[in-house]
Protein backbone atom coordinates (compact mmCIF):
# COMPACT_ATOMS: atom_id res chain seq x y z
CA UNK A 1 0.00 0.00 0.00
CA UNK A 2 2.52 2.59 1.15
CA UNK A 3 5.16 1.36 -1.33
CA UNK A 4 2.54 1.61 -4.03
CA UNK A 5 1.90 5.28 -3.16
CA UNK A 6 5.60 6.10 -3.61
CA UNK A 7 5.74 4.15 -6.87
CA UNK A 8 2.82 6.22 -8.14
CA UNK A 9 4.60 9.41 -7.08
CA UNK A 10 7.71 8.31 -9.00
CA UNK A 11 5.67 7.38 -12.06
CA UNK A 12 3.87 10.73 -11.99
CA UNK A 13 7.22 12.55 -11.74
CA UNK A 14 8.47 10.59 -14.76
CA UNK A 15 5.32 11.46 -16.67
CA UNK A 16 5.59 15.15 -15.80
CA UNK A 17 9.20 15.13 -16.92
CA UNK A 18 8.20 13.55 -20.23
CA UNK A 19 5.49 16.17 -20.65
CA UNK A 20 7.95 18.94 -19.87
CA UNK A 21 10.36 17.62 -22.48
CA UNK A 22 7.54 17.80 -25.01
CA UNK A 23 6.53 21.30 -23.90
CA UNK A 24 10.08 22.62 -23.35
CA UNK A 25 10.39 24.25 -26.79
CA UNK A 26 7.11 26.15 -26.34
CA UNK A 27 7.01 27.19 -22.71
CA UNK A 28 9.10 29.21 -20.32
CA UNK A 29 10.84 27.48 -17.44
CA UNK A 30 8.42 28.94 -14.92
CA UNK A 31 5.50 27.40 -16.81
CA UNK A 32 7.12 23.98 -16.58
CA UNK A 33 6.98 24.33 -12.80
CA UNK A 34 3.19 24.26 -13.15
CA UNK A 35 3.33 20.85 -14.77
CA UNK A 36 5.16 19.44 -11.72
CA UNK A 37 2.68 21.12 -9.39
CA UNK A 38 -0.22 19.46 -11.20
CA UNK A 39 1.62 16.14 -10.79
CA UNK A 40 1.92 16.72 -7.05
CA UNK A 41 -1.76 17.59 -6.84
CA UNK A 42 -2.65 14.30 -8.59
CA UNK A 43 -0.53 12.31 -6.13
CA UNK A 44 -1.88 14.23 -3.14
CA UNK A 45 -5.47 13.56 -4.23
CA UNK A 46 -4.82 9.88 -3.61
CA UNK A 47 -4.86 10.87 0.01
CA UNK A 48 -1.45 9.92 1.45
CA UNK A 49 0.82 12.52 2.99
CA UNK A 50 4.11 10.64 2.50
CA UNK A 51 3.86 10.12 -1.25
CA UNK A 52 2.61 13.72 -1.69
CA UNK A 53 5.69 15.03 0.11
CA UNK A 54 7.89 12.70 -1.89
CA UNK A 55 6.24 13.94 -5.08
CA UNK A 56 6.94 17.62 -4.22
CA UNK A 57 10.55 16.73 -3.58
CA UNK A 58 10.89 14.71 -6.80
CA UNK A 59 9.29 17.53 -8.78
CA UNK A 60 11.93 20.02 -7.60
CA UNK A 61 14.75 17.56 -8.26
CA UNK A 62 13.59 16.66 -11.77
CA UNK A 63 12.93 20.27 -12.68
CA UNK A 64 16.40 21.18 -11.49
CA UNK A 65 18.17 18.27 -13.16
CA UNK A 66 16.46 18.21 -16.55
CA UNK A 67 15.55 21.82 -17.25
CA UNK A 68 17.38 24.39 -15.12
CA UNK A 69 20.56 25.48 -16.88
CA UNK A 70 23.10 23.97 -16.92
CA UNK A 71 20.78 21.14 -17.86
CA UNK A 72 21.38 17.51 -16.79
CA UNK A 73 23.24 18.55 -13.64
CA UNK A 74 22.07 19.43 -10.18
CA UNK A 75 24.28 22.49 -10.42
CA UNK A 76 22.37 25.81 -10.54
CA UNK A 77 23.77 28.77 -12.47
CA UNK A 78 21.44 31.58 -11.41
CA UNK A 79 20.60 32.08 -7.77
CA UNK A 80 17.07 33.18 -8.77
CA UNK A 81 16.26 29.49 -9.32
CA UNK A 82 16.92 28.74 -5.68
CA UNK A 83 13.97 31.01 -4.93
CA UNK A 84 11.96 29.23 -7.64
CA UNK A 85 12.75 25.90 -5.99
CA UNK A 86 11.74 27.15 -2.58
CA UNK A 87 8.47 28.56 -3.92
CA UNK A 88 7.82 25.44 -5.94
CA UNK A 89 8.44 23.22 -2.94
CA UNK A 90 6.29 25.38 -0.68
CA UNK A 91 3.40 25.48 -3.16
CA UNK A 92 3.65 21.73 -3.66
CA UNK A 93 3.58 21.22 0.10
CA UNK A 94 0.52 23.41 0.54
CA UNK A 95 -1.32 21.78 -2.35
CA UNK A 96 -0.61 18.31 -1.02
CA UNK A 97 -1.57 19.29 2.50
CA UNK A 98 -4.90 20.72 1.34
CA UNK A 99 -5.65 17.81 -0.96
CA UNK A 100 -4.87 15.23 1.71
CA UNK A 101 -6.99 17.07 4.25
CA UNK A 102 -9.93 17.37 1.84
CA UNK A 103 -9.65 13.70 1.10
CA UNK A 104 -9.50 12.73 4.77
CA UNK A 105 -12.52 14.88 5.56
CA UNK A 106 -14.49 13.38 2.69
CA UNK A 107 -13.64 9.92 3.94
CA UNK A 108 -14.64 10.74 7.49
CA UNK A 109 -17.95 12.16 6.27
CA UNK A 110 -18.54 9.03 4.23
CA UNK A 111 -17.77 6.82 7.19
CA UNK A 112 -20.18 8.76 9.39
CA UNK A 113 -22.82 8.39 6.70
CA UNK A 114 -22.25 4.63 6.49
CA UNK A 115 -22.51 4.33 10.26
CA UNK A 116 -25.78 6.29 10.26
CA UNK A 117 -27.11 4.18 7.37
CA UNK A 118 -26.15 0.95 9.13
CA UNK A 119 -27.92 2.11 12.27
CA UNK A 120 -31.04 2.98 10.32
CA UNK A 121 -30.96 -0.36 8.54
CA UNK A 122 -30.41 -2.26 11.75
CA UNK A 123 -33.49 -0.80 13.37
CA UNK A 124 -35.70 -1.29 10.32
CA UNK A 125 -34.26 -4.80 9.89
CA UNK A 126 -35.27 -5.60 13.41
CA UNK A 127 -38.86 -4.51 12.96
CA UNK A 128 -39.21 -6.11 9.51
CA UNK A 129 -37.63 -9.37 10.58
CA UNK A 130 -39.49 -9.63 13.84
CA UNK A 131 -42.74 -9.14 11.95
CA UNK A 132 -41.83 -11.69 9.32
CA UNK A 133 -40.66 -14.21 11.89
CA UNK A 134 -43.60 -13.77 14.21
CA UNK A 135 -46.31 -14.24 11.62
CA UNK A 136 -45.40 -17.79 10.56
CA UNK A 137 -44.41 -18.67 14.12
CA UNK A 138 -47.81 -17.55 15.37
CA UNK A 139 -49.47 -19.67 12.67
CA UNK A 140 -47.36 -22.70 13.55
CA UNK A 141 -47.82 -22.46 17.30
CA UNK A 142 -51.53 -21.77 16.87
CA UNK A 143 -52.05 -24.70 14.53
CA UNK A 144 -49.97 -27.10 16.64
CA UNK A 145 -51.70 -26.23 19.89
CA UNK A 146 -55.10 -26.57 18.22
CA UNK A 147 -54.08 -30.00 16.94
CA UNK A 148 -52.94 -31.04 20.40
CA UNK A 149 -56.36 -30.19 21.84
CA UNK A 150 -58.43 -31.53 18.96
CA UNK A 151 -59.88 -35.01 19.02
CA UNK A 152 -59.22 -35.49 15.30
CA UNK A 153 -56.05 -34.52 13.47
CA UNK A 154 -56.88 -31.86 10.89
CA UNK A 155 -55.10 -32.05 7.58
CA UNK A 156 -55.59 -28.33 6.96
CA UNK A 157 -53.77 -27.42 10.13
CA UNK A 158 -50.92 -29.81 9.34
CA UNK A 159 -50.59 -28.30 5.87
CA UNK A 160 -50.61 -24.86 7.47
CA UNK A 161 -47.79 -25.84 9.82
CA UNK A 162 -45.69 -27.22 6.98
CA UNK A 163 -46.27 -24.25 4.64
CA UNK A 164 -45.58 -21.65 7.30
CA UNK A 165 -42.46 -23.51 8.40
CA UNK A 166 -41.30 -23.50 4.78
CA UNK A 167 -41.92 -19.77 4.66
CA UNK A 168 -39.78 -19.39 7.77
CA UNK A 169 -37.07 -21.49 6.16
CA UNK A 170 -37.03 -19.21 3.10
CA UNK A 171 -36.81 -16.16 5.33
CA UNK A 172 -33.95 -17.61 7.36
CA UNK A 173 -32.16 -18.55 4.15
CA UNK A 174 -32.61 -14.99 2.88
CA UNK A 175 -31.25 -13.54 6.10
CA UNK A 176 -28.23 -15.82 6.11
CA UNK A 177 -27.38 -15.00 2.52
CA UNK A 178 -27.83 -11.25 3.10
CA UNK A 179 -25.53 -11.36 6.06
CA UNK A 180 -23.03 -13.30 3.99
CA UNK A 181 -23.21 -10.76 1.17
CA UNK A 182 -22.93 -7.80 3.51
CA UNK A 183 -19.95 -9.25 5.32
CA UNK A 184 -18.25 -9.05 1.94
CA UNK A 185 -18.04 -12.78 1.22
CA UNK A 186 -16.92 -13.37 -2.35
CA UNK A 187 -19.42 -14.62 -4.90
CA UNK A 188 -18.72 -18.09 -6.22
CA UNK A 189 -19.33 -17.10 -9.81
CA UNK A 190 -19.19 -19.66 -12.59
CA UNK A 191 -20.73 -19.63 -16.04
CA UNK A 192 -24.17 -21.25 -15.96
CA UNK A 193 -27.08 -21.54 -18.36
CA UNK A 194 -29.70 -19.22 -16.84
CA UNK A 195 -32.32 -21.87 -17.61
CA UNK A 196 -30.60 -24.16 -15.12
CA UNK A 197 -30.77 -21.56 -12.35
CA UNK A 198 -34.39 -20.64 -13.10
CA UNK A 199 -35.19 -24.36 -13.19
CA UNK A 200 -33.90 -24.98 -9.67
CA UNK A 201 -35.77 -21.89 -8.43
CA UNK A 202 -39.00 -23.19 -9.99
CA UNK A 203 -38.46 -26.56 -8.36
CA UNK A 204 -37.82 -24.95 -4.98
CA UNK A 205 -41.07 -22.96 -5.30
CA UNK A 206 -43.21 -25.78 -6.67
CA UNK A 207 -45.41 -25.98 -3.59
CA UNK A 208 -45.68 -22.20 -3.38
CA UNK A 209 -46.77 -22.03 -7.02
CA UNK A 210 -49.43 -24.64 -6.27
CA UNK A 211 -50.04 -25.49 -9.90
CA UNK A 212 -49.91 -21.87 -11.07
CA UNK A 213 -49.03 -21.64 -14.72
CA UNK A 214 -45.51 -20.48 -15.52
CA UNK A 215 -44.82 -19.52 -19.11
CA UNK A 216 -41.08 -19.67 -19.67
CA UNK A 217 -39.61 -18.31 -22.86
CA UNK A 218 -35.89 -19.13 -22.78
CA UNK A 219 -34.20 -19.71 -26.15
CA UNK A 220 -32.06 -22.85 -26.11
CA UNK A 221 -28.93 -21.11 -27.38
CA UNK A 222 -28.70 -18.34 -24.78
CA UNK A 223 -25.11 -17.68 -23.73
CA UNK A 224 -23.94 -18.81 -20.30
CA UNK A 225 -23.70 -16.07 -17.67
CA UNK A 226 -21.25 -15.99 -14.76
CA UNK A 227 -23.38 -16.31 -11.62
CA UNK A 228 -23.21 -17.63 -8.10
CA UNK A 229 -25.80 -20.38 -8.63
CA UNK A 230 -27.00 -20.49 -5.01
CA UNK A 231 -27.47 -16.72 -4.76
CA UNK A 232 -28.97 -16.34 -8.22
CA UNK A 233 -31.44 -19.12 -7.47
CA UNK A 234 -32.43 -17.09 -4.42
CA UNK A 235 -33.12 -14.07 -6.67
CA UNK A 236 -35.58 -16.05 -8.77
CA UNK A 237 -37.14 -17.74 -5.73
CA UNK A 238 -37.77 -14.29 -4.25
CA UNK A 239 -39.15 -12.88 -7.51
CA UNK A 240 -41.48 -15.87 -7.87
CA UNK A 241 -42.56 -15.67 -4.24
CA UNK A 242 -43.17 -11.95 -4.67
CA UNK A 243 -45.26 -12.51 -7.79
CA UNK A 244 -47.31 -15.29 -6.19
CA UNK A 245 -47.93 -13.14 -3.13
CA UNK A 246 -48.99 -9.97 -4.94
CA UNK A 247 -50.73 -11.46 -7.94
CA UNK A 248 -53.14 -14.07 -6.63
CA UNK A 249 -54.16 -15.10 -10.13
CA UNK A 250 -52.92 -15.40 -13.66
CA UNK A 251 -49.80 -16.97 -15.12
CA UNK A 252 -46.23 -15.90 -14.44
CA UNK A 253 -44.08 -15.09 -17.44
CA UNK A 254 -40.35 -15.66 -17.36
CA UNK A 255 -38.49 -14.43 -20.40
CA UNK A 256 -34.77 -14.28 -21.13
CA UNK A 257 -33.11 -12.54 -24.06
CA UNK A 258 -29.55 -12.10 -25.21
CA UNK A 259 -28.50 -8.45 -25.54
CA UNK A 260 -25.22 -6.91 -26.65
CA UNK A 261 -23.03 -7.80 -23.68
CA UNK A 262 -25.60 -8.87 -21.13
CA UNK A 263 -28.51 -11.17 -20.58
CA UNK A 264 -31.92 -9.70 -19.84
CA UNK A 265 -34.35 -11.74 -17.76
CA UNK A 266 -37.84 -10.72 -16.72
CA UNK A 267 -40.32 -12.18 -14.27
CA UNK A 268 -43.82 -10.82 -14.78
CA UNK A 269 -47.23 -11.32 -13.25
CA UNK A 270 -50.82 -10.30 -13.98
CA UNK A 271 -51.52 -8.81 -10.55
CA UNK A 272 -52.47 -5.26 -9.60
CA UNK A 273 -49.02 -3.89 -10.52
CA UNK A 274 -47.17 -1.22 -8.60
CA UNK A 275 -47.97 2.39 -7.78
CA UNK A 276 -45.61 4.82 -9.53
CA UNK A 277 -43.96 5.82 -6.25
CA UNK A 278 -43.38 2.17 -5.38
CA UNK A 279 -41.40 1.31 -8.50
CA UNK A 280 -38.14 2.48 -6.94
CA UNK A 281 -38.93 1.85 -3.32
CA UNK A 282 -39.75 -1.83 -3.59
CA UNK A 283 -36.02 -2.54 -3.68
CA UNK A 284 -35.20 -0.42 -0.65
CA UNK A 285 -34.07 -2.56 2.17
CA UNK A 286 -36.68 -3.31 4.79
CA UNK A 287 -38.99 -0.56 3.67
CA UNK A 288 -42.49 -1.67 3.05
CA UNK A 289 -44.13 0.78 0.70
CA UNK A 290 -47.60 -0.55 1.35
CA UNK A 291 -48.98 -2.74 4.07
CA UNK A 292 -48.45 -5.74 1.82
CA UNK A 293 -47.37 -8.77 3.80
CA UNK A 294 -43.74 -9.71 3.76
CA UNK A 295 -42.59 -7.13 1.24
CA UNK A 296 -39.32 -5.53 2.17
CA UNK A 297 -36.79 -8.29 2.41
CA UNK A 298 -36.93 -10.47 -0.67
CA UNK A 299 -36.65 -7.77 -3.31
CA UNK A 300 -33.91 -5.94 -1.42
CA UNK A 301 -31.89 -9.14 -1.51
CA UNK A 302 -32.60 -9.52 -5.22
CA UNK A 303 -31.13 -6.09 -5.75
CA UNK A 304 -28.12 -6.77 -3.53
CA UNK A 305 -27.35 -10.04 -5.32
CA UNK A 306 -27.87 -8.68 -8.83
CA UNK A 307 -25.78 -5.61 -8.05
CA UNK A 308 -23.02 -7.80 -6.64
CA UNK A 309 -23.04 -9.57 -10.00
CA UNK A 310 -22.56 -6.24 -11.79
CA UNK A 311 -26.13 -6.30 -13.07
CA UNK A 312 -29.22 -4.17 -12.65
CA UNK A 313 -32.81 -4.78 -11.58
CA UNK A 314 -35.87 -2.60 -11.95
CA UNK A 315 -39.61 -2.82 -11.64
CA UNK A 316 -42.14 -1.69 -14.22
CA UNK A 317 -45.84 -1.96 -14.85
CA UNK A 318 -46.85 -4.14 -17.76
CA UNK A 319 -49.06 -2.95 -20.52
CA UNK A 320 -52.32 -4.75 -19.89
CA UNK A 321 -51.77 -4.94 -16.12
CA UNK A 322 -49.35 -6.56 -13.75
CA UNK A 323 -45.82 -5.98 -12.56
CA UNK A 324 -42.62 -6.96 -14.31
CA UNK A 325 -39.20 -7.27 -12.73
CA UNK A 326 -36.43 -6.83 -15.26
CA UNK A 327 -32.91 -7.82 -14.51
CA UNK A 328 -29.74 -7.65 -16.53
CA UNK A 329 -26.66 -9.76 -15.96
CA UNK A 330 -23.36 -9.00 -17.64
CA UNK A 331 -22.03 -11.85 -19.75
CA UNK A 332 -18.51 -11.14 -18.58
CA UNK A 333 -15.87 -13.39 -20.06
CA UNK A 334 -18.31 -16.27 -20.52
CA UNK A 335 -18.95 -17.58 -24.00
Amino acid sequence: MSVQGYAVAAAVAALCTAACFALYPFLSLNDLVMVYLVGTLVVALRGRRGPALFSSFLGVLCFNFFFVPPRFTFHVEHSQFVVTFAVMFAVALIISHLAVRARTQAEAAKRAEVVAETERLRSSLLSAVSHELRTPLAAIIGSASTLLQAAQPSRDLLVNIRDEAERLARLVHNLIETTRLESGAALKKEPYPIEDVIGTALERTERLLAGRKVEADLPENLPLVPVDPVLMELVFVNLIENAVRHAPEGPLDIVARERMDFLEVSVADRGPGLKPEELERVFEKFYRASAAPGAGLGLAICKAVVTAHGGTIRAENRPGGGAVFLLTLPRGGAK
Binding site: A165, H173, I176, I198, G199, V230
Partner: protein, 232 residues
Amino acid sequence: MTERKATVLVVDDERAIQRFLRPSLEENGFSVLEASTGKSALDLAVSRKPDVILLDLSLPDMDGLDVLKRLREWSSAPVIVVSARGQESDKIAGLDRGADDYLTKPFGVEELLARIRVALRHAEGAARDPEPVYEHGDLKIDLTLRRVWLAKKEVRLSPLQYTLLAALVRDAGRVVSQKQLMKELWPEGGSTPEALRILVHQTRHRVEKEPVRPRHLKTEPAVGYRLEAPDE
Protein backbone atom coordinates in the same frame (compact mmCIF):
# COMPACT_ATOMS: atom_id res chain seq x y z
CA MET B 1 -37.69 -54.00 -0.06
CA THR B 2 -36.01 -56.92 1.73
CA GLU B 3 -37.87 -59.13 4.24
CA ARG B 4 -35.47 -58.23 7.02
CA LYS B 5 -35.99 -54.74 8.36
CA ALA B 6 -33.23 -52.48 7.17
CA THR B 7 -31.45 -50.60 9.93
CA VAL B 8 -30.82 -46.86 9.73
CA LEU B 9 -28.21 -45.27 11.96
CA VAL B 10 -29.19 -41.67 12.57
CA VAL B 11 -26.24 -39.52 13.66
CA ASP B 12 -27.49 -36.16 14.91
CA ASP B 13 -27.05 -34.40 18.22
CA GLU B 14 -30.34 -32.51 18.09
CA ARG B 15 -33.07 -34.12 20.20
CA ALA B 16 -35.77 -32.41 18.12
CA ILE B 17 -34.49 -34.06 14.94
CA GLN B 18 -34.16 -37.50 16.52
CA ARG B 19 -37.67 -37.13 17.92
CA PHE B 20 -39.28 -36.90 14.49
CA LEU B 21 -36.91 -39.16 12.58
CA ARG B 22 -37.41 -42.26 14.75
CA PRO B 23 -41.21 -42.50 14.43
CA SER B 24 -41.25 -41.58 10.74
CA LEU B 25 -38.55 -44.15 9.87
CA GLU B 26 -40.14 -46.84 12.03
CA GLU B 27 -43.51 -46.10 10.50
CA ASN B 28 -41.95 -46.82 7.12
CA GLY B 29 -40.50 -50.17 8.08
CA PHE B 30 -36.97 -49.35 9.20
CA SER B 31 -35.38 -50.06 12.53
CA VAL B 32 -33.55 -47.07 13.95
CA LEU B 33 -30.28 -46.65 15.83
CA GLU B 34 -29.39 -43.28 17.27
CA ALA B 35 -26.05 -41.66 17.92
CA SER B 36 -25.50 -38.10 19.07
CA THR B 37 -21.70 -38.00 18.84
CA GLY B 38 -19.16 -38.99 16.23
CA LYS B 39 -17.57 -41.49 18.57
CA SER B 40 -20.81 -43.31 19.43
CA ALA B 41 -21.66 -43.30 15.71
CA LEU B 42 -18.41 -45.10 14.88
CA ASP B 43 -18.93 -47.56 17.77
CA LEU B 44 -22.48 -48.36 16.64
CA ALA B 45 -21.38 -48.68 13.03
CA VAL B 46 -18.87 -51.35 14.11
CA SER B 47 -21.08 -53.26 16.56
CA ARG B 48 -24.44 -53.11 14.78
CA LYS B 49 -23.50 -52.83 11.09
CA PRO B 50 -26.39 -50.57 9.98
CA ASP B 51 -27.62 -50.75 6.36
CA VAL B 52 -27.72 -46.98 5.91
CA ILE B 53 -26.09 -44.17 7.86
CA LEU B 54 -27.66 -40.73 8.04
CA LEU B 55 -24.81 -38.47 9.09
CA ASP B 56 -25.24 -34.87 10.18
CA LEU B 57 -22.01 -33.02 9.54
CA SER B 58 -22.10 -30.81 12.62
CA LEU B 59 -21.45 -32.98 15.64
CA PRO B 60 -20.35 -31.92 19.11
CA ASP B 61 -17.19 -34.02 19.35
CA MET B 62 -15.82 -34.52 15.82
CA ASP B 63 -16.03 -33.08 12.33
CA GLY B 64 -18.68 -35.07 10.47
CA LEU B 65 -16.36 -35.32 7.48
CA ASP B 66 -13.77 -37.06 9.69
CA VAL B 67 -16.41 -39.51 10.89
CA LEU B 68 -17.14 -40.25 7.24
CA LYS B 69 -13.47 -40.76 6.45
CA ARG B 70 -13.01 -43.15 9.39
CA LEU B 71 -16.15 -45.07 8.38
CA ARG B 72 -14.97 -45.44 4.82
CA GLU B 73 -11.73 -47.07 5.98
CA TRP B 74 -13.62 -50.31 6.57
CA SER B 75 -17.34 -49.89 5.78
CA SER B 76 -19.12 -49.62 2.47
CA ALA B 77 -22.56 -49.01 4.01
CA PRO B 78 -24.23 -46.13 2.18
CA VAL B 79 -23.83 -42.81 3.97
CA ILE B 80 -26.23 -39.92 3.42
CA VAL B 81 -24.72 -36.67 4.58
CA VAL B 82 -27.04 -34.09 6.15
CA SER B 83 -26.06 -30.45 6.10
CA ALA B 84 -27.58 -26.99 5.97
CA ARG B 85 -28.16 -24.93 2.88
CA GLY B 86 -25.39 -22.66 1.75
CA GLN B 87 -22.79 -25.27 2.67
CA GLU B 88 -22.35 -26.69 -0.81
CA SER B 89 -18.62 -27.14 -0.28
CA ASP B 90 -19.36 -29.52 2.62
CA LYS B 91 -21.65 -31.53 0.39
CA ILE B 92 -19.01 -31.77 -2.31
CA ALA B 93 -16.37 -32.73 0.27
CA GLY B 94 -18.76 -35.40 1.62
CA LEU B 95 -19.32 -36.89 -1.83
CA ASP B 96 -15.57 -36.80 -2.49
CA ARG B 97 -14.98 -38.77 0.69
CA GLY B 98 -17.36 -41.51 -0.27
CA ALA B 99 -20.79 -40.32 0.84
CA ASP B 100 -23.53 -41.70 -1.39
CA ASP B 101 -25.84 -38.75 -1.26
CA TYR B 102 -26.84 -35.77 0.80
CA LEU B 103 -29.90 -34.17 2.30
CA THR B 104 -30.28 -30.47 2.91
CA LYS B 105 -31.76 -29.34 6.19
CA PRO B 106 -34.65 -28.65 6.47
CA PHE B 107 -35.99 -31.67 4.58
CA GLY B 108 -39.33 -33.44 4.37
CA VAL B 109 -39.95 -37.09 5.16
CA GLU B 110 -40.73 -37.97 1.52
CA GLU B 111 -37.31 -36.71 0.49
CA LEU B 112 -35.59 -38.58 3.32
CA LEU B 113 -37.31 -41.86 2.47
CA ALA B 114 -36.55 -41.47 -1.23
CA ARG B 115 -32.85 -40.97 -0.49
CA ILE B 116 -32.71 -43.96 1.87
CA ARG B 117 -34.49 -46.25 -0.60
CA VAL B 118 -32.18 -45.27 -3.43
CA ALA B 119 -29.11 -45.76 -1.22
CA LEU B 120 -30.31 -49.23 -0.16
CA ARG B 121 -31.11 -50.21 -3.73
CA HIS B 122 -27.65 -49.19 -4.89
CA ALA B 123 -26.00 -51.06 -2.02
CA GLU B 124 -27.93 -54.20 -3.00
CA GLY B 125 -27.49 -53.61 -6.70
CA ALA B 126 -23.73 -53.25 -6.39
CA ALA B 127 -23.61 -57.07 -6.25
CA ARG B 128 -25.74 -57.76 -9.32
CA ASP B 129 -25.96 -56.28 -12.79
CA PRO B 130 -27.81 -52.99 -13.18
CA GLU B 131 -31.26 -52.94 -14.72
CA PRO B 132 -30.79 -52.60 -18.48
CA VAL B 133 -33.87 -50.42 -18.99
CA TYR B 134 -34.55 -47.19 -17.12
CA GLU B 135 -38.07 -45.79 -17.11
CA HIS B 136 -39.25 -42.66 -15.37
CA GLY B 137 -42.46 -40.99 -16.46
CA ASP B 138 -42.30 -40.38 -20.20
CA LEU B 139 -38.56 -41.11 -20.45
CA LYS B 140 -37.18 -44.53 -21.34
CA ILE B 141 -33.52 -45.41 -21.71
CA ASP B 142 -32.39 -48.84 -22.91
CA LEU B 143 -28.75 -49.41 -22.00
CA THR B 144 -28.36 -52.59 -24.06
CA LEU B 145 -29.82 -51.11 -27.25
CA ARG B 146 -28.29 -47.69 -26.49
CA ARG B 147 -31.59 -46.04 -27.41
CA VAL B 148 -33.70 -43.35 -25.74
CA TRP B 149 -37.41 -42.54 -26.03
CA LEU B 150 -39.36 -39.51 -24.85
CA ALA B 151 -43.15 -39.97 -24.80
CA LYS B 152 -42.73 -43.07 -26.98
CA LYS B 153 -40.83 -41.17 -29.65
CA GLU B 154 -37.22 -42.08 -30.16
CA VAL B 155 -34.76 -39.32 -29.33
CA ARG B 156 -31.59 -38.74 -31.34
CA LEU B 157 -28.65 -38.01 -29.09
CA SER B 158 -24.99 -37.33 -29.73
CA PRO B 159 -22.63 -40.00 -28.35
CA LEU B 160 -21.60 -37.66 -25.51
CA GLN B 161 -25.21 -36.87 -24.62
CA TYR B 162 -25.91 -40.58 -24.48
CA THR B 163 -22.83 -41.25 -22.31
CA LEU B 164 -24.05 -38.60 -19.88
CA LEU B 165 -27.47 -40.22 -19.58
CA ALA B 166 -25.98 -43.72 -19.25
CA ALA B 167 -23.67 -42.52 -16.47
CA LEU B 168 -26.61 -40.94 -14.64
CA VAL B 169 -28.79 -44.04 -15.12
CA ARG B 170 -26.19 -46.16 -13.33
CA ASP B 171 -26.57 -43.86 -10.33
CA ALA B 172 -30.26 -43.14 -10.84
CA GLY B 173 -31.81 -41.40 -7.86
CA ARG B 174 -28.45 -40.39 -6.47
CA VAL B 175 -26.63 -37.13 -6.86
CA VAL B 176 -23.60 -37.37 -9.13
CA SER B 177 -21.06 -34.64 -8.52
CA GLN B 178 -19.79 -32.48 -11.33
CA LYS B 179 -16.32 -33.93 -10.74
CA GLN B 180 -17.50 -37.55 -11.02
CA LEU B 181 -19.39 -36.83 -14.22
CA MET B 182 -16.46 -35.06 -15.82
CA LYS B 183 -14.20 -37.98 -15.01
CA GLU B 184 -16.65 -40.31 -16.67
CA LEU B 185 -17.31 -38.20 -19.76
CA TRP B 186 -13.77 -37.01 -20.39
CA PRO B 187 -11.48 -39.63 -18.82
CA GLU B 188 -8.43 -37.99 -20.39
CA GLY B 189 -9.38 -34.61 -18.93
CA GLY B 190 -9.11 -31.50 -21.06
CA SER B 191 -12.65 -30.36 -20.54
CA THR B 192 -14.32 -27.73 -18.37
CA PRO B 193 -17.31 -27.52 -16.02
CA GLU B 194 -18.86 -25.14 -18.59
CA ALA B 195 -18.71 -27.86 -21.22
CA LEU B 196 -20.52 -30.21 -18.83
CA ARG B 197 -23.21 -27.61 -18.12
CA ILE B 198 -23.73 -26.99 -21.82
CA LEU B 199 -23.93 -30.74 -22.42
CA VAL B 200 -26.55 -31.18 -19.67
CA HIS B 201 -28.45 -28.18 -21.02
CA GLN B 202 -28.52 -29.61 -24.56
CA THR B 203 -29.41 -33.09 -23.34
CA ARG B 204 -32.27 -31.64 -21.33
CA HIS B 205 -33.64 -30.03 -24.46
CA ARG B 206 -33.79 -33.54 -26.00
CA VAL B 207 -35.20 -35.54 -23.10
CA GLU B 208 -37.38 -33.08 -21.20
CA LYS B 209 -40.75 -31.88 -22.39
CA GLU B 210 -40.26 -28.62 -20.50
CA PRO B 211 -36.50 -28.12 -20.07
CA VAL B 212 -36.85 -25.25 -17.60
CA ARG B 213 -38.90 -27.53 -15.34
CA PRO B 214 -37.05 -30.81 -15.72
CA ARG B 215 -38.87 -33.90 -14.52
CA HIS B 216 -35.99 -36.35 -14.95
CA LEU B 217 -32.61 -34.67 -15.08
CA LYS B 218 -32.39 -32.38 -12.07
CA THR B 219 -29.69 -29.90 -11.10
CA GLU B 220 -28.25 -29.92 -7.59
CA PRO B 221 -27.04 -26.31 -7.42
CA ALA B 222 -23.26 -25.96 -7.16
CA VAL B 223 -22.89 -29.71 -6.56
CA GLY B 224 -23.93 -31.78 -9.55
CA TYR B 225 -26.89 -33.53 -11.15
CA ARG B 226 -29.44 -36.16 -10.28
CA LEU B 227 -31.46 -38.38 -12.58
CA GLU B 228 -34.68 -39.26 -10.78
CA ALA B 229 -34.99 -42.83 -9.49
CA PRO B 230 -36.80 -45.10 -11.95
CA ASP B 231 -40.50 -45.82 -11.52
CA GLU B 232 -41.15 -48.76 -9.23
